[in-house]
Symmetry: C2
């Protein structure tokens, strides 16, 4: 059953025992790296990509751990097997410090109603830049607070805006804008290199869109300058955005929906 067991440093434990001391400095400081992925038909989707990014995140913040990608992959498969997991979200999380601690946990898979994909979702903009854009770390308070603000305002996502009033990414997603056969997104160095983002760009390419690494501005986005806006994440594939800061910015999303279905199709072929 999903969420029954977990992995701790290679050993299967009960997930209820996946706890850490509040007194540990690394826990207090968010000195950890993580990955979230999907298990579909008992298969951990794009696992190799996630394990590579986990390593990159760790390198960026000088977090050292003694677990190889091969070992972690073995433990992921062991957990899927022991809990007979068919579909789930799966999280790999490694705390650094003197005694690195690796946890693998599963939870009910995140899915969204079909109407989100046909009608689009609401978003707001929120000022703030992530500390290490390229790394998935425990430095998540900005993302948490931006997302809470989004929820208070009935929005699905908060889009993070830099000092130059450009939209870089969402709190848990990458951000894209389409206009006149071109797709715009932030430059690689400024955002998290999403594994779904890679697939989105590949799909866009396949659909004949030209990829431009240029960051859409808040002004352009909220005045309806673009044909389509969407966000991408492992759990979302490509999710159309219909409103930004209360203004309608899109009603139909033909490219977004084609990109989304290509991304989902490739998951099954992984």
């Amino acid at each position: 059953m999903v969420g029954e067991h977990a992995v701790y440093n290679g050993k299967i434990i009960l997930q209820s025992e996946a706890v850490i001391p509040v007194t540990l400095r690394e826990v207090q400081s968010g000195f950890y790296v993580y990955e979230s992925l999907r298990v579909i038909q008992a298969h951990p989707v794009h696992l190799d990509d996630h394990l590579l990014r986990l390593e990159n995140s760790a390198n960026l913040i000088h977090l050292e751990y003694p677990f190889s990608r091969e070992e972690i992959a073995t433990w992921v498969h062991a957990l899927i097997e022991v809990d007979l997991v068919e579909r789930s979200s799966l999280r790999i999380q490694i705390y650094g410090g003197g005694q690195p601690q690796l946890f693998i946990t599963t939870s009910k898979i995140l899915t969204y109603p079909d109407s989100f994909y046909t009608d689009g979702v609401k978003a707001l903009t929120y000022e703030g830049e992530r500390l290490f854009p390229g790394a998935k770390t425990g430095n998540l308070l900005l993302n948490y607070l931006a997302m809470e603000e989004a929820r208070r305002q009935g929005c699905f996502e908060a889009l993070l805006v830099d000092g130059g009033q450009n939209i870089l990414e969402g709190t848990r997603s990458n951000f894209f804008a389409i206009k006149d056969g071109r797709i715009y997104t932030a430059h690689d160095e400024k955002v998290l290199l999403g594994i779904t983002r890679d697939r989105v760009l590949k799909a866009a390419n396949q659909l004949g869109l030209q990829v431009i690494y240029n960051t859409p501005s808040v002004n352009q986005v909220s005045t309806g300058f673009y044909d389509e806006l969407f966000i991408s994440a492992t759990s979302m594939a490509a999710m159309p955005v219909s409103q930004v800061n209360g203004k309608v910015v899109g009603k139909t999303f033909p490219f977004t929906r084609e990109i989304s279905s290509l991304v989902r199709q490739w998951e099954l072929e992984d």
Copy 2:
């Protein structure tokens, strides 16, 4: 015995049981506020100030909890009593979210050799600004990484430098510079309102120093422009800085040492 028990939501537990689930979003996101204080002669020093600041930190990040200052104070005293604590560091930490979780834990008191106060300590500068300067939250990865870099280079503290090349504060301290009868420190809004910082400014005033809220620049600090540099924190009182980025910036610290002894004296009178 220090560190034997802890408080969890008002109940005395074993400190080894002061753990939190790695699966909780608030834990993963560092959505918590905290205070560190000193217990001296079984008395929690400046507890009221710390509890007030805890509340302010929580307000700044919209973290709500159902514990009053009076209740928390009662629990602090209960913990000191059950473990017969004479001297210790004590940490109050509250995770937010749907089910707020409060922990109070104690650990061996942080003290430093006398030579640190007579000879001064080494520091380096590190670029980066804290997200919510006025709040003590779990958003500590910058502080952690800056401090790790300081340790690698044999330094006692890392001084955080903003985009304008000014020194705002240390990773776990406030920062001060003295020259020609004036003491310089960052403006209130830019830094953590240290409880020891308050006492430092009061002591400086008593010693006839004029307080100037102006941030010393990296250039001024590392070229020996000031008569004395020091950092302040609950655990340090006022700690003189003798070197910045490998350059000697001070050898005697008459004001710093007088300030430090006033701060320590007031602790005993609390």
